[in-house]
Subunit: 268 residues, 2 copies
């Protein structure tokens, strides 16, 4: 059997303040960080984890995050680099629905959609401090209707093709593809562990730890709903990485990201 392959789909970059990357610790000042999605080619199907940000959305709602994104850094563009089209993706799993993790969902009407069961309700009715985080609701007709933001919906996005199967706790989505429940950053946040036949597992922290330094210093991002849970999730990620001898990959760590394989290169 062919081994699982993991492709990182480069999604461009954004800018936030150092106080947002390292909550209350900083230092202050602009930090440009990468955004990417994770495509898992697996015997059981083609799974896409997260879908990056939508350039037009960010320019309209959060232009101060100074988005940079080429055509090849959109979901259709990045899939195209490896000879795929959006319709080739069987399952989309969103770690959470902050705008930089769900902006490309709209391009995948045919895929089955899965997330934590509390994430869509949260996107429908976010805390006041989460409004910018959950500002792109184009991934869900339900959320767009709840928020009065149906103007965000792309033609063709319907309740039927944007309804999510809700899960909770840890779930093995396919053999060796483990969703690790790591709440704190958002109410239903997941990290991702992928096991291979031929190499060390990879543990994608997703936003439980933006950067290596975040995890090493237990300093979560300033964007969060439950910082106590966030610390517990970081402890959990550290322990799991050790137990599984997993390679850790971070969500928004430019220095490490430059060493990651992207484009046509893959892991596995």
């Amino acid at each position: 059997m062919t081994d699982t392959k993991v492709y990182l789909l480069d999604g461009g970059s954004l800018v936030i303040d150092g106080y947002h990357v390292f909550w209350n610790r900083g230092p202050a000042g602009e930090v440009r960080f990468p955004v990417y999605s994770i495509l898992v080619e697996h015997a059981e199907g083609r799974f896409l984890f997260d879908t990056g940000f939508d350039y037009d959305h960010v320019m309209k709602v959060l232009p101060f995050e100074k988005p940079m994104q080429t055509k090849e850094q959109t979901i259709p563009g990045a899939l195209g680099l490896i000879g795929l089209e959006p319709k080739d993706v069987n399952v989309v799993f969103n770690s959470h629905f902050h705008f930089d993790h769900c902006g490309g969902n709209k391009h995948l009407p045919d895929a089955k959609k899965i997330c934590h069961r509390l994430e869509v309700p949260q996107a429908c009715n976010p805390q006041p401090f989460e409004h910018l985080g959950y500002s792109d609701v184009s991934f869900s007709a339900e959320a767009a209707e709840a928020r009065g933001m149906t103007d965000q919906l792309m033609a063709g996005t319907t309740r039927a093709n944007s309804t999510f199967e809700g899960i909770e706790g840890d779930v093995e989505l396919a053999k060796g593809v483990h969703l690790i429940f790591t709440p704190g950053h958002s109410i239903g946040h997941y990290s991702l562990l992928v096991e291979f036949q031929t190499r060390r597992p990879i543990l994608f922290t997703i936003d439980a730890a933006y950067t290596q330094k975040s995890l090493e210093t237990l300093c979560q991002a300033s964007f969060h709903i439950d910082p106590v849970a966030g610390v517990a999730s970081m402890h959990r990620v550290r322990k799991l990485a050790e137990e599984k001898d997993a390679e850790l990959m971070y969500s928004h760590d430019m220095e490490n990201y430059r060493t990651y394989r992207t484009g046509t290169q893959f892991y596995g």
Copy 2:
């Protein structure tokens, strides 16, 4: 019967970043904000709410907060301005134990001490993101021992004279002096409502809302343990102020603070 009098004891000022005052919203940049304590002269006794920061502690541990504090802005100094000495205070209540609310406790060994029952345990074992907040443990021999920081204890501070009576929920500490449980900023945070015979009540938000704008925009400070609870507490403070027709006073709002009565002036 003499009406209750409320004196504000000016405690100097500190500097933090705009992203700390208005969590994730800012704008960025240095903000100098006031620190003060609240003395309630009441038929049932003399109650002191919070005790400001200790200049030497801040210079040693958080010099980047650029403390400004004259002798008259210490607890002994501010009490002296109104003809009192520390031993004249019967009860010290701490809204929570962040360093800018408990730095002067050490000067009040004779007063009875009260706080939420979870605040001392939290100061003994803070979350990683709370270490600077709970960095001054001179208010409690127990906390100083738990943290290995007994060097902070002033000569004469003992377990016996720094032990707190723990409360929970709302408590009427003396007739018309209401402790309002408003968690979020810290695990056991309280606001304070004082009723008078001859004037509108005053509702001190304490750190449930640093500033008027914070409360109006439901934007809590970046220092918090449970932001969802923090939002609920702000809603509660707003509702209570309306129900009681109370004047709102904020903890760290320089613009409003300039209009507050301090020194020998009082409310009531």
